[in-house]
């Protein structure tokens, strides 16, 4: 029951790479552009090329490719189940297809369906993969700073960018503290004879109560003290606040933007004019 003290939040891998050094805003925007591009790909070859591009980025970020791929593992069962269900129950969508691969009772699997859903799966996998890539090479603090800066564009129309970022930072700050606290409460309750990990589902749920209630109470107490401490340090919301770190675009960022645009232009020209649509 020992909970790890060095909790790594998200899956950030600290490295001293060009990808890590990019301005988080640039990373977030390029990531959004790439994800959008994903939805316009209609060929296996297209996804393969895209995949290779992402591998290249991971290589640049000095993250072992196998490690990055491992992030996909928890998603695989869902992807497989989704694929099977879609194949089994969507035969009617391709009712006029002559290319039937398998037919039994209401199940009707056509070649068109297989292609459509395989492509969808490719898209989902690449989507997952690109999220992993962003979070592997950008610290959560970096992501928060980036999001804050990007969202502050919406400040005139009332987007509370700074406040949202502050919420995020405080959440990140308190996760390890609360884990420590949880550990302490569990030990205290065990020392008083509480069973923590035995019995069936209902018994185990009941056992959680004497652990969760004190944790919840203490968390409220902490929140209250934190508010006072923040006010004592002159926090009054995002208004009039400045930042120690100011994000500035460097040569590296412009290069990254240029490379991505170049890749997308070449990529879509290829898929449009060179690669046959059926591949």
């Amino acid at each position: 029951m020992e909970l790890s003290k060095d909790i790594t939040l998200g899956q950030y891998v600290p490295r001293d790479s060009v990808i890590h050094k990019l301005d988080p805003r640039v990373k977030i925007i390029l990531w959004m552009v790439l994800v959008t591009a994903l939805f316009f790909i209609r060929t296996y070859t297209g996804y393969l090329v895209f995949f290779i591009f992402l591998m290249g980025v991971i290589h640049l970020a000095q993250i072992p490719i196998l490690y990055a791929l491992r992030g996909l593992r928890p998603a695989i069962p869902f992807i497989v189940v989704l694929f099977i269900i879609q194949l089994l129950f969507s035969g009617s969508l391709y009712a006029d297809s002559t290319n039937v691969l398998f037919e039994w009772s209401f199940i009707r699997i056509t070649a068109e369906a297989v292609r459509t859903y395989s492509l969808t799966i490719c898209r989902v996998i690449l989507l997952f993969f690109s999220v992993t890539l962003l979070t592997l090479a950008t610290s959560l603090v970096g992501l928060t700073d980036g999001m804050e800066s990007l969202m502050s564009v919406g400040r005139p129309i009332g987007v509370p960018a700074n406040e949202l970022a502050m919420v995020m930072v405080i959440a990140l700050r308190f996760v390890p503290t609360l884990v420590e606290e949880l550990e302490r409460i569990m030990k205290a309750q065990m020392a008083r004879g509480a069973e923590v990990e035995t019995g069936n589902f209902i018994q185990r749920t009941k056992q959680r109560i004497p652990i969760l209630i004190p944790l919840l109470m203490n968390t409220f107490q902490r929140a209250e003290e934190l508010i006072i401490a923040m006010e004592a340090r002159c926090y009054r919301g995002g208004k009039g606040r400045t930042k120690r770190k100011t994000l500035r675009l460097g040569i590296l960022d412009y290069q990254a933007i240029a490379v991505t645009i170049l890749f997308l232009v070449v990529f879509f020209s290829l898929t449009k004019y060179v690669i046959p649509a059926s591949w």
């Binding site: 990140l172 003290e225 934190l226 340090r233």
Partner: protein
């Protein structure tokens, strides 16, 4: 200068059964002084502490910070910039995910330009010997280090006064020493320190000791004057520092020692 004039305070003052926490407290704290406010639990010392930076406003009387009344709503942020506060539990006062960002939190709130924030952050971290742990997360630090981060955060705000509300009570002995050492650093920087504590020995180095009981100020004076009245302190369930106790007993046994010795070195001289 901080002036507390005949301050009374009640929690839930407007309710039918308010809880009186302070009664007729008057006090003057000069710039550069080190004042210790001692008292046992429920004596009103923490309530008094929260009056110094307008976290609480007096129900009766006034608190003046450099001539500004804490009741003046427009000046509340000026007052909080002038009077920094360190709280008991270091875990519940650090805001950011890394030391450096936390030290910068105060100045960021003041709307200071980035380069200046960076400069102050560096300075404050150097004074509190935090430069090596600048990119560590708060939960990786010891209790003493966390309190030093909190103090650095105040230094970076350039506060003139630092109020510490039982900063050592949840720390281990080593952490306590670290905090006491930090107080010396603050004093060298010319910052007024107001230490709320129930450990008498932490008050030894103070210029002024204020003893609270039942919301009232019952004793005040130099540590020497206050510790000389050991019996009265004991009746308030407070102790005198161990050295003073030893000296007093030796005096009672007939040795020629004054009853208000404050350090081991001093006691040695008399012996």
């Amino acid at each position: 200068m901080i002036r507390v004039e005949n301050v009374g305070f009640a929690y839930n003052a407007t309710s039918p059964n308010p809880i009186r926490a302070l009664e007729g407290v008057s006090l003057q704290i000069n710039k550069g002084e080190f004042v210790a406010i001692v008292g046992h639990n429920g004596s009103g010392k923490s309530t008094l502490a929260k009056h110094f930076n307008a976290l609480l406003l007096p129900t009766e009387g006034d608190v003046w910070i450099d001539g500004i009344n804490t009741k003046d709503k427009k000046s509340v942020w000026d007052i909080r910039q002038k009077v920094g506060m360190v709280f008991q539990n270091p875990d519940n006062q650090l805001v950011a995910t890394v030391v450096e960002d936390d030290v910068a939190f105060g100045p960021e709130n003041l709307g200071i330009p980035s380069e200046e924030i960076q400069r102050r952050t560096e300075e404050a971290m150097a004074l509190m010997r935090l430069t090596e742990v600048r990119d560590k997360a708060p939960h990786m630090l010891s209790g003493g280090q966390k309190q030093r981060v909190a103090i650095a955060g105040i230094l970076a705000m350039r506060s003139d006064y630092v109020v510490m509300d039982e900063p050592t009570s949840v720390l281990d002995p080593l952490g306590r020493l670290e905090v006491m050492e930090s107080i010396r650093v603050l004093r060298r920087e010319g910052i007024t320190v107001i230490l709320i504590t129930h450990f008498m020995h932490e008050a030894i180095e103070a210029d002024q000791v204020v003893v609270m009981d039942g919301g009232r100020m019952v004793m005040s004076g130099s540590p020497r004057e206050v510790f000389a009245q050991a019996d009265k302190l004991r009746s308030l369930s407070l102790d005198v520092p161990l050295v003073t106790q030893v000296a007093a007993r030796l005096a009672r046994m007939g040795l020629d020692i004054p009853p208000n010795v404050l350090s081991v070195e001093e006691l040695m001289e008399y012996l």
